[in-house]
Symmetry: C2
Subunit: 354 residues, 2 copies
């Protein structure tokens, strides 16, 4: 495994975990996972260690404005691990940049691309799925992990599987965008569709070839990279803002997919945080200092560090998130509406809370 | 009005306004009234000024352990205004003590006894009701204000009215304890019943005579009072723990009552605080920094002094009370259940929050 690298994508700054997540303190640096006080991104790196082996082979791509926060969340990585994107240009440019850098060391190195903000409950299964994908990627075919769906989710893209290639590895028949509810139900029933979790495994030279074929402009900019900051800025100035999925992967053939049943979650909202959390007898996911009286199904996260008492009396299915400078109270089923609070704060000029 | 005194009863330390109210910071020193940041007790004293005239004629009876907090809430009163009860013995002993002290200055002085933790919306009507009661009390009959009921409340005692004495003043037919729902509805329908709000108006010598007749033991202890702390302690050691209502007033005849329509509220729970509060278009009573998204009928009180954002998304009819060291979230209709949180904290040994 001495030639297996990881590229962790940490450019996001979502609003769905407000008030915990902020522009300057995005979801991935928060301890949103169940049963741990480590950040999602630290968990992501730790979880890769069985296959990557050495933290020195982990690259983290993040926005230049998030660099300090991201490095703080990963104190065990050397400074050279961090790639600061001067402007956000979706995932193709930064994956190209990271892959280029790895290829300069070893063109046939294996690269694992993973988002920084997901949760995996079954780490053994995750490791085995990666090992299958790595074996397949060594043959020069770009491989992806496909999550076996558990519900007709309309918020994810899907991968339709084709023929079996080897045990545990299948051809990708096609990628499909976020479906309607009806289609999602049909996908789930068919057993032929997997969730696209944005995890890719490939040989560095195979990806560079795929980029050259699908995005020649990006490829040329990558060729002109040197060690200077100016060349990075030129790359991001010129590069198209496109995802690796749409810009490269979906235009490449063949592709392989490893169906994975790994207890995966995108941790997409406070609702998900409740779903994953350890529940008391009344279905509450709470802090040690929470007091509940006839309260059921609530999520309480106190990120203020105060350890103060939060008393819930007679309430059901609420999310209560306290960050010290802000407090959010909403029904779990409204978890997608958090962005409306963020919009209201934006409109009110409360940049201090965004 | 140079002979009109007030005795403000501030011995209570209720649990119904937790977490705002605490053993050491009871309801009456909190700014729970609508549209003001002054404490209930400061409002109570201010509201009496039109008839009492001089803060120097206000006595405040409170527990010895609440003395400092109570004096802090009333910085405009001289130290001699405060009577510290060495032990809680209900209202008869402290009213007797205060009345005795006033009688030593002027036996025919008028005394107005009021609880420290109520709200009066119509202060003009309150002043007029007190003036009618004072005129009646000057004749030597103990008088009370009776609040015209607006609902079949089962949490208050009632006063049944008898014959009219003079314009605006009636005989008291009888006092009745907290009724059943059925009886409360009958009382409301009859038009002959008023709420007992614990406000009494009398000539000092008339009350001392009533105490002598109804509670001779207390009367004797009052006779033995001198200026020493030891004599106060002896009084409270010997005195029966009984309310002035049950121990004296209800055993005295005749009694007068002034029916009063003064926008009175006992501010008995967070539900009441919401009822009295200024509501936005969606029926929320909130802080300036509150952000609401499809939230209706909620009460938000931030007593932490932080001025931080509290965001309510899609919730209805909640109480949210933040004191910095504790946060309470409950439906308004559960307002009476706050005591169960207090009981849970007591059981958990969290005296710091009680």
């Amino acid at each position: 495994m001495g030639d297996v690298y990881a590229v962790v994508l940490a450019g996001g700054s979502g609003t769905r975990f407000w008030p915990a997540s902020r522009k300057a303190r995005p979801k991935q640096v928060m301890a949103l996972g169940p049963g741990t006080d480590r950040s999602l991104i630290a968990e992501t790196v730790r979880r890769l260690m069985p296959v990557v082996g050495d933290p020195g082979r982990v690259l983290v791509a993040t926005g230049a404005h998030l660099m300090a926060t991201t490095r703080e969340a990963l104190p065990f990585l050397p400074p050279s691990s961090f790639l600061g994107e001067p402007v956000a240009k979706n995932t193709a440019p930064c994956i190209g940049w990271a892959t280029r850098r790895i290829a300069a060391i070893d063109p046939s190195a294996i690269v694992i691309v993973v988002p920084s903000d997901q949760h995996v409950a079954d780490e053994g299964a995750f490791t085995r799925a990666l090992e299958a994908a790595i074996a397949s990627a060594r043959e020069g075919v770009i491989c992806t992990l496909g999550i076996e769906p558990t519900r007709p989710e309309t918020g994810f893209g899907y991968i339709e599987v084709g023929e079996e290639v080897t045990a545990g590895v299948r051809q990708v028949a096609r990628f499909v965008e976020k479906p309607t509810r009806e289609k999602a139900e049909a996908y789930l029933a068919s057993g032929r569709f997997l969730w696209n979790a944005g995890m890719f495994i490939y040989r560095a030279d195979a990806m560079l070839a795929a980029i050259e074929s699908a995005l020649p402009e990006l490829s040329q900019a990558l060729d002109e990279l040197d060690d200077s900051e100016a060349s990075v800025r030129r790359l991001f100035d010129r590069a198209p803002a496109v995802s690796i999925d749409v810009g490269v992967i979906e235009k490449t053939s063949p592709l392989h997919v490893v169906p994975a049943n790994i207890g995966w979650s995108d941790l997409g909202s406070w609702q998900t945080a409740w779903e994953l959390g350890d529940k008391d007898a009344a279905g509450n996911v709470v802090e040690p200092s929470t007091v509940t009286v006839e309260a059921e199904g609530n999520l309480v996260r106190d990120l203020s560090g105060s350890g103060r008492v939060i008393a819930l009396v007679g309430v059901r299915d609420l999310c209560v998130v306290d960050t010290g400078d802000a407090l959010l109270i909403m029904p779990r089923e409204c978890a997608q509406d958090v962005r409306r609070v963020v919009a209201a704060l934006e409109a009110a000029g409360r940049d201090d809370l965004l």
